[in-house]
Subunit: 288 residues, 2 copies
Amino acid sequence: MAESPSSGGRAGFGSRLVAATEARGRLCAGIDPHPSLLRDWGLGADVAGVETFTRICVEAFAGTVALVKPQVAFYEAFGSKGFAILERALSDLSDGGALTLADAKRGDIGSTMAAYADAWLSGGSPLAVDAVTVSPYLGFGSLEPALSLAEETGRGVFVLAATSNPEGRSVQGAMLDRDGRAVELAQDIVDRAAQRNAPHVAAGEPSGPVGVVVGATLERAPRLDDLAGPILMPGVGAQGAGPADVDRLAGDCRRLALPNISRGILRHGPDADALAAAVARAAGEYPA
Amino acid sequence: MAESPSSGGRAGFGSRLVAATEARGRLCAGIDPHPSLLRDWGLGADVAGVETFTRICVEAFAGTVALVKPQVAFYEAFGSKGFAILERALSDLSDGGALTLADAKRGDIGSTMAAYADAWLSGGSPLAVDAVTVSPYLGFGSLEPALSLAEETGRGVFVLAATSNPEGRSVQGAMLDRDGRAVELAQDIVDRAAQRNAPHVAAGEPSGPVGVVVGATLERAPRLDDLAGPILMPGVGAQGAGPADVDRLAGDCRRLALPNISRGILRHGPDADALAAAVARAAGEYPA
């Protein structure tokens, strides 16, 4: 495993991620305790229900999946008590050998972005994860405090680029003038991530630390050939996309494409064994 | 005070906000416990420091300012313990008569956006505020769960439109095709907010519940004439903008322009009396 010169001795996120997918496949399993799933599992749509749901998911996923993605909003809905559940889950997932990705979609500027980076990407934080999703509405450059801290601490960042929801086009499909050439916003985000990854790959890492989010349900995705970073692909499973869509959109970058399934797996709960079997089956569909 | 037909008997956010600014001026005071300010106040950059900083701000602002805006990132940096401090502050601010605005910049799709809406805009949540900032990178339409819940519960939403940081242009200045006409993304966000506010104003409310964020330091802002909703204007004070900038950018919408000062006031702490005097002075510069 190549060691990043910039992560203080610890291997960089790209190296750790590729090692994890080689051992466990490329699946990213979601933990989304939303009210309807809690009800389906016979749990209350309350703090106790979220806690039980999360514990079962952690049991089923921690030892088997490369990357586990809790959806932060479902914890935030219960305030500090919800965050306490998330903190414990993140720690237990790491203990089980899974990498953790907080789906937080944070984005801000200056010292505020630095505080979000501290929350998710600094080793001393109770919410520390291996990677976090961020939103670039304030400009890709506004994310710099998170990108820098991720490099320093051997962690990663996934930047929203082209999301799978139909409303996303009204923003992500807007056109920018770049040196006199028209470029789609989603493509510009991918290209800036690629620039940020280039020195890492030049230094011998198998992937840079800056990933992008690209919906697996899209007919047409941005060009990803030069990204040299991971591609998180939601929309697989219940939302209709499958291995063929992931292959088609990722092309030659298939090795770094991480299909994300949430509902398609979670509907097999609350039985922990059934859930573990479902996630192992799904992981098998996306080998390294 | 006009009563919104859609907010279950409670007055709508627009009505409550205008009443608050008429009583206390249009100032929005920030609570940003960032590490350098904590040090300046002689406090530790830790949970105890954030708690003391927040308590002093709440004492100085709750009884005097129309709108108080805690910056969520600085609480999130301390995980569940940070959120517990924020919960108490929000409750104390409301008890003192200030409206609360959580600067969270949340944005997601579907049931996830609904969970963020629940966190900040449902009455039963420990994090319930009068309004929250949201980010439209996934499309203005993706924010619908928050807009609907805000209407239902008499709360508000401020959508990022044109931010003051230079990197913001690389996204917010992108061009959209709207019925064959080229429109800037930031303008499109303002126009969609205006559409969402129109029925409220038609029903007699002095402002709709959907605000926008427009940097007071911008040379050129989107047209705001038809918004009929509040305009949060960061960049005033330490960042260099003042009453003349607010007036120039807001034009005829001046009555709904809410200048946001954070550092310019917070540098007067930790003495609670000096802080209260500074915030009262600043509020006086922006009368209703």
